[in-house]
């Protein structure tokens, strides 16, 4: 390379070969796009396959072994019921834990231990949470198998670390000058948290929680582990109703013998699930954008 460099500056300074640079750049760009593009291709495929299957009767019927009569309603409603329950459980617990860690806890061993533990819990496989739900809620507390409560509690534990971590980030983003101003006015810690910290952190907390709910709505393995039923026909009518969920129903349908299920009904279910997920995530993004300007 050095040899390329001309000796007399009057002729310029020579050129350094950029082949590697260009090749590498293209390679890196290709790598960046590969996942996105392949996902897009698959989504396109599934969307095409869902055409003709994803219709009103699909969304309002109960499941059926005949692909032309099969419907998604109980799973759809089940997912939403579980999700609401999860939100009710994780929001207060997650915010409470985040407030403790950010506002109360000093930087001692206990705090660091809790923090490390939360980070670790966020990485525990969901199937293990399923076993936890099975042992704890179905077994020990005897809530019953495969019902709304057991499902919601199990998945709530699964997403709690994610909610806590994002709530902590939101609380940490509240400028310290705001807290100082409040303490300076003679506010107590709780008054400061309630009147200054939480209102300001709320959009961030909400965004994080909703995104975590998006994760919750796609969870399947924990439901399988707590013996959620293969198929449900009615709508959940109590906390103790057996419940199915969209991903679980999709998983079940994927095992049906007819190709109409493989390439039609399941595709319709996948598209429905993704649309619900996308809606949830866009709500989060709207909240984030709506409040982000004000800082």
């Amino acid at each position: 390379m050095a040899a390329d460099t001309g000796e007399t500056p009057a002729d310029g300074f020579g050129r350094v070969s950029r082949t590697k640079d260009v090749v590498f750049r293209l390679l890196a760009l290709a790598a960046t796009l590969i996942g996105i593009v392949s996902l897009a291709a698959l989504l396109l495929n599934v969307a095409v396959d869902a055409v003709g299957w994803l219709d009103w009767q699909f969304l309002t019927n109960p499941p059926h072994p005949n692909p032309y009569e099969a419907g998604f309603l109980p799973a759809l409603v089940g997912s939403i019921a579980i999700m609401l329950m999860i939100a009710l459980v994780t929001f207060p617990l997650g915010v409470g834990a985040a407030v403790y860690l950010e506002e109360y806890a000093n930087d001692g061993y206990l705090t660091r231990f809790i923090q490390l533990n939360i980070a670790n819990l966020a990485g525990v496989p969901s199937v293990v949470y399923g076993l936890l739900g099975l042992g704890l809620f179905v077994g020990l507390f005897n809530i019953g198998y495969g019902n709304v409560l057991a499902a919601a509690f199990t998945i709530a534990l699964l997403i709690l670390p994610i909610v806590i971590i994002s709530a902590q980030e939101a609380i940490r983003a509240v400028p310290d000058s705001q807290r100082q101003a409040s303490y300076g006015m003679g506010a107590t810690k709780w008054q400061t948290i309630r009147n200054v910290v939480l209102p300001r952190a709320m959009p961030g907390i909400m965004t994080g929680t909703i995104l975590a709910l998006g994760r919750a709505i796609g969870e399947t393995a924990p439901l399988i582990m707590i013996a959620a039923p293969t198929t449900v026909f009615g709508l959940p009518n109590s906390f103790f109703s057996k419940v199915s969920a969209m991903p679980l129903q999709i998983y079940n349908w994927a095992s049906y013998p007819q190709t109409e299920f493989q390439y039609g009904v399941v595709a319709a279910g996948v598209v429905t699930l993704l649309v619900v997920l996308l809606t949830i995530n866009s709500i989060a993004i709207v909240i984030r954008n709506r409040y982000q300007q004000r800082t």
């Binding site: 101003a181 409040s182 506010a187």
Partner: protein, 284 residues
């Protein structure tokens, strides 16, 4: 330190700052005039971990006057100010030794609730920090947290008026405090600080983030406030200290209070060479 032994006199008139004060103070030499002492530090030291940020400070701050605290960066001005309302409690590593008395009561006594203490002391910070709430809610915040729920609207108006902001915001009390200009925001913070009617107002470089026009409004306001409140103001701007304060405390590096006296005296004829060097810009 030089002047802290002198007893308060009955002379209620604060020496007027400016050049006319020069002759007085120059004549009176070490002798200074004092009002009733409201805040008094005795052997006050503050440590952050191992590092000493304030070293054996003795000072008597008179009631209903403006006391300026000046000194080079890092000399402990803010630390001193934050001792008064125990905001240093919020810093884990901070440790206070010695006494700081508010009206004769040591605020570091065990039976003192810092929250109750802070309700008697308003505080205004370096850069304006209004809450992302309406102007009204900003000013009413102290009243709310302190449980003073009667006549809130009236008190909000009075506070805004005293802070010389009412005219400018009267018909937008419900719009956000963040929509105001920097100078207005800082006056809003002052209104917020005085709304619960404290005894003392602490200001930590309240105009350092502001442009000259806004600064001069704040300076006028501070002089007015001294009619009713005891004001302690930290500033890095010596001209500002000279313009608005009655008393000036000069801290130098190491957290040492080198000289405390009438402002005119400090600026025209300081006792210590180091203070003179600092004021004339030879050092710091």
């Amino acid at each position: 330190m030089t002047s802290s032994e002198t007893e308060p006199t009955d002379d209620q008139t604060a020496p007027t700052p400016g050049t006319d004060g020069l002759a007085d103070t120059a004549d009176s030499g070490g002798e200074t005039t004092f009002d009733r002492t409201l805040l008094e530090a005795r052997d006050l030291s503050v440590y952050y971990g191992e590092e000493r940020a304030l070293a054996d400070v003795d000072i008597e701050i008179p009631e209903k006057q403006v006391t300026a605290v000046i000194g080079p960066s890092g000399c402990g001005k803010s630390t001193f100010l934050r001792c008064i309302n125990r905001m240093n409690d919020l810093v884990d590593s901070a440790r206070v030794e010695g006494e700081l008395c508010f009206d004769g009561k040591n605020v570091y006594d065990d039976d003192v609730d810092p929250v109750a203490l802070r309700r008697k002391i308003g505080m205004v910070f370096q850069s304006p920090n209004p809450f992302p709430k309406s102007i009204r809610d900003n000013v009413a915040y102290g009243l709310k947290v302190q449980g003073k729920q009667e006549n809130v609207d009236e008190k909000v108006h009075t506070a805004l008026e005293r802070a010389a902001l009412l005219d400018e915001v009267e018909d937008q009390l419900d719009s956000s405090g963040l929509d105001l200009s920097g100078g207005q925001q800082q006056r809003l913070c002052i209104a917020r600080a005085i709304a619960p009617d404290p005894d003392v107002i602490l200001m930590d470089e309240p105009a350092s983030a502001l442009d000259p026009v806004a600064t001069s409004k704040i300076e006028d306001l501070i002089e007015d406030l001294a009619e009713e409140y005891t004001v302690v103001i930290v500033t890095h701007n010596m001209q500002q200290a000279a313009r608005i304060s009655d008393k000036t405390a000069v801290f130098l590096t190491g957290g040492e209070l080198v000289e405390f006296d009438d402002t005119d005296k400090i600026f025209e004829n300081p006792e210590h060479d180091r203070v003179e060097d600092y004021i004339t810009g030879k050092f710091g």
